[in-house]
């Protein structure tokens, strides 16, 4: 199952990387390759761009030759949990500006404990408050490391 995911992943990631390689080559083509002062800004990117393109084509071709494993067995459930963690993190980063680190981080923690791990709400609330307070005390108060500040001033 994992192997099947991996193999069809080879195809798509290979195509994506080939596109990246192409993009790098096109960009590098706009910059000087060899100028009067020596190798220009496009010199190095052109070469690794070509290498990315070549290797990703190799990856795709070897995948096609092997014959793709039918039945994409990606575990969407697992993927969903991982991606929602990422999304929760992204939302909390977005909230840094209005709410500041302490509140956003408490919300993130609450969300992970209560929603992702289905712990009792009291446990979640306690964990959230305790860890957010801990970060504030350790970093902001004790060590003087600035944390993102919201409109409320902390």
């Amino acid at each position: 199952m994992e192997d099947a995911t991996r193999k069809s992943g080879d195809l798509w990631s290979g195509v994506a990387l080939a596109a990246l390689g192409l993009y790098i080559i096109i960009q590098a083509g706009q910059w000087e390759y060899l100028g009067p002062e020596g190798p220009g800004a496009g010199f190095f990117p052109l070469w690794y761009g070509v290498a990315i393109l070549a290797l990703s084509v190799l990856l795709v071709v070897s995948h096609l030759k092997r014959g793709s494993a039918r039945g994409d067995a990606t575990d969407w459930n697992k993927l969903g949990r991982a991606l929602s963690t990422w999304l929760a993190l992204a939302v909390s980063v977005a909230l840094f500006k209005p709410l500041g680190f302490v509140i956003s981080f408490a919300l993130l923690t609450y969300c992970i404990v209560a929603v992702m791990y289905r712990r009792p709400l009291a446990t979640a609330a306690l964990t959230a408050v305790a860890s957010a307070a801990g970060f504030y005390l350790v970093f902001d108060r004790a060590l003087g490391v600035p944390l993102p500040v919201g409109v409320l001033g902390f």
Binding site: G35, P36, E37, G38
Partner: protein
């Protein structure tokens, strides 16, 4: 009666600039924004200023250094531009704030978009070779470059750095050509010269000082209008027979756009007083800077001239400018 009133008028006249300056006084901690991380050149200068301000009791409030690194100065400049009208923020700029917007389209904030306050220092430079180099004068080096075009090498910073500007000006005025090799750090530039991998470099006198004293380095000429106190016998570029403009390396202070006129007057006056203190004099002497104080109006004029000249030099050097 008449003499008394004229006396009052005289006193009033004398006090006028003072009372003007008293129109504004910072009431809370003032942020001094720098474009380097802690420990970078501007950061060290900003922290030194903060210490002097405290020691000489020049301000009723504290100066606090804020690091806004990134974007080759563009992030710090943009931060100031966003603080439009903020009365408790200042920025310590260097040449990179002027050069980055010239070559990077992404860096949209120029000094014209901020409020100039004062120019503080000029950093002179010297042209140095390794002690066992065959070149005893700049003319000898230029002569060798003429004989072997493109063979000699200079180590320096980026292509917009003063190092390259000096080279471009010299190449143009003498019709010669030598290679310019960029290194990101000052340490690597010096190591390349001392290791004999390059032939010449433009270096700050403070950096060169110990290498000269130890007999590892020799100075051919100085990039300044007048001879520096510590190099009385070394000719300036002009004296060495190379009449090229001296492009100064500057550091100074700007404020966010849209601040009241009396704030500008307060701050330019404050920095003038700072540059007159004993601690400041010692600091610039230790670092072999030149006193480069200019008030806000002169700094604005300086900026325009500097930018025009820089743009021209960069164009000559084949560097693409975007504004």
């Amino acid at each position: 009666m008449k003499s008394a009133s004229s006396l009052i008028a005289l006193v009033a006249l004398l006090c006028a600039p003072l009372s003007f300056a008293q129109g504004f006084k910072p009431t809370r901690t003032v942020d001094l924004v720098v474009h380097t991380g802690p420990g970078g050149g501007s950061d060290v200068l900003a922290r030194a200023i903060a210490i002097m301000v405290e020691k000489e009791k020049l301000l009723p409030v504290r100066l606090q250094v804020i690091n806004k690194p990134g974007g080759n100065g563009a992030v710090a400049a943009a931060h100031l531009a966003e603080k439009r009208g903020d009365q408790n923020t200042l920025g310590l700029f260097t040449g990179v704030w002027l050069q980055t917007p010239l070559v990077s389209a992404e860096a949209k904030v120029t000094l014209r978009d901020l409020t100039p306050i004062a120019r503080l220092v000029l950093e002179p430079a010297v042209i140095a070779v390794k002690a066992d180099s065959p070149y005893k004068t700049l003319a000898e080096f230029i002569g060798a470059a003429r004989k072997n075009p493109g063979q000699l090498k200079q180590s320096g910073g980026s292509n917009t750095s003063r190092d390259n500007v000096v080279r471009q000006l010299l190449q143009k005025s003498t019709g010669t050509r030598w290679a310019f090799i960029s290194f990101p750090g000052g340490g690597e530039r010096i190591a390349a010269l001392l290791g004999g991998h390059v032939d010449i470099m433009v270096i700050e006198p403070e950096e060169a000082g110990e290498h000269i004293r130890a007999g590892n380095m020799r100075v051919l000429a100085q990039v300044s209008e007048r001879r520096l106190a510590k190099f009385p016998e070394i000719p300036t570029l002009k004296e060495a027979g190379f009449d090229v403009p001296v492009v100064p390396q500057v550091r100074g202070v700007v404020a966010p756009p849209g601040i009241p006129k009396e704030n500008v007057e307060f701050w330019q006056d404050f920095f003038r007083r700072l540059t007159r203190t004993q601690s400041w004099r010692k600091y610039i002497e230790d670092n072999q800077f030149e006193d480069g104080y200019q008030n806000a109006a002169d700094l604005a004029k300086f900026y325009e001239e500097f930018t025009d000249r820089m743009r021209e030099i960069l164009k000559d050097a084949g560097v693409k400018t975007v504004r």
